[in-house]
């Protein structure tokens, strides 16, 4: 440790944090609040997810989201494909815009299985059932926040008994 200037004796790493350190940290916080702020609506979306909480549920994680720029290059700018992974299930969805301002969602479950699927939006909850190939579709979903929830499989059926939920999406 070099001690080249007069202040170094009180600025060593083993000294207690003082008011100047706290002022530096306040400055760092201000810089990042300005340079890379949290999206302002994120806490509201999280509260929406938590309000629909299901303590037993497995939380699926975002596994892949196709880059919108690639989609635009293909001339399919209104379509978005997102994959979610959980321990027991992979959920892949494609979101397309309808002419009336709503969106259409086509989805696949892997491993393929029949499950009840809920699409919870701010307004209400839509329900569909996947077919034996694991396919499901919601023809008309209002734009805004939404969250997919795959209900537990029936008893005696192969597959897990726990529901699987995705994080909240912005449609």
């Amino acid at each position: 440790m070099k001690s080249s200037d007069a202040g170094s004796s009180e600025a060593g790493p083993d000294e207690p944090v003082d008011a100047f350190d706290l002022a530096i940290l306040d400055g760092i916080r201000e810089i990042f609040e300005q340079a890379d702020p949290m999206p302002a609506d994120l806490p509201e979306r999280i509260k929406f997810s938590l309000a629909l909480r299901d303590l037993e549920a497995e939380v699926a994680r975002l596994a892949a989201e196709e880059d919108p720029r690639l989609l635009a290059a293909r001339g399919a700018e209104q379509s978005r494909t997102i994959t979610f992974d959980s321990d027991s299930l992979t959920i892949m969805i494609r979101i397309d815009s309808n002419k009336d301002g709503t969106v259409r969602i086509d989805g696949w479950l892997a491993p393929a299985q029949r499950r009840e699927i809920e699409m919870r939006t701010a307004a209400d909850t839509l329900r569909e059932v996947s077919d034996v190939q694991g396919r499901f579709a919601f023809a008309s979903v209002p734009r805004g926040t939404a969250r997919l929830s795959v209900r537990p499989g029936e008893q005696g059926q192969s597959g897990p008994g726990r529901p699987v939920v995705t994080p909240t999406l912005i449609l």
Binding site: V17, I28, V59
Partner: protein
């Protein structure tokens, strides 16, 4: 240090904030959506900066922050204090961010994109110009630190002061026998600002 004139903002006193957060955690455990919502509002910015400091894209960071809050629900039973809550959230977010980054098999961006430009606050009063100069000096100094130091300082800057010690210890930063010490990264930054 509380009466040092250089102290820029007086953080809420330790017992007040700790009691308030502990009360909200208790209420959330008993099912209060309102208490949980207040905790989310208060601590989500910290988690956002933890995830972004770990090198995640904005989309990934949003997803990780949501996932961590959902996971907290099944861990509330073991959390009684503000420091325990903040520590658990920071460590879980960081771990989840690493997992997402590893799953994407991505390298960290070679340079620090957020350092590309300091947003301009525009023309202002003489006082504003002085603040901007200080901020620019701080910005330049942060850019010269190691990536690890940048990450740690960005996290610690968003940790509520009373929880600083617990989080610094969790992150492997120096903690003295009677309280948090400055640590290597902050000491280095301070030396740069002095030089």
């Amino acid at each position: 240090m509380a009466d040092d004139p250089r102290s820029v903002t007086a953080p809420p006193s330790r017992p007040d904030r700790n009691a308030r957060i502990a009360g909200m955690v208790n209420a959330a455990r008993e099912g209060s959506e309102d208490a949980l919502g207040q905790i989310v509002t208060e601590l989500s910015p910290l988690l956002w900066h933890v995830a972004r400091a770990a090198g995640l894209s904005s989309c990934e960071a949003e997803d990780v922050v949501q996932t961590v809050w959902m996971r907290l629900l099944s861990h509330l039973d073991g959390i009684r204090t503000s420091a325990a809550l903040t520590g658990w959230l920071v460590v879980t977010t960081r771990r989840e961010a690493w997992r997402v980054r590893a799953a994407g098999r991505r390298q960290l961006p070679a340079d620090h994109d957020w350092l590309a430009a300091l947003p301009d606050t525009g023309p202002g009063s003489e006082e504003q110009v002085i603040i901007d100069d200080q901020r620019r000096a701080l910005w330049v100094a942060i850019g010269q630190l190691s990536r690890r130091c940048q990450e740690l300082l960005r996290i610690i800057a968003f940790v509520p002061h009373p929880d600083y010690q617990a989080v610094a210890a969790e992150l492997g930063m120096a903690v003295g026998s009677i309280g948090p010490t400055r640590g290597r990264c902050l000491a280095k930054l301070r030396a740069m600002l002095a030089g």
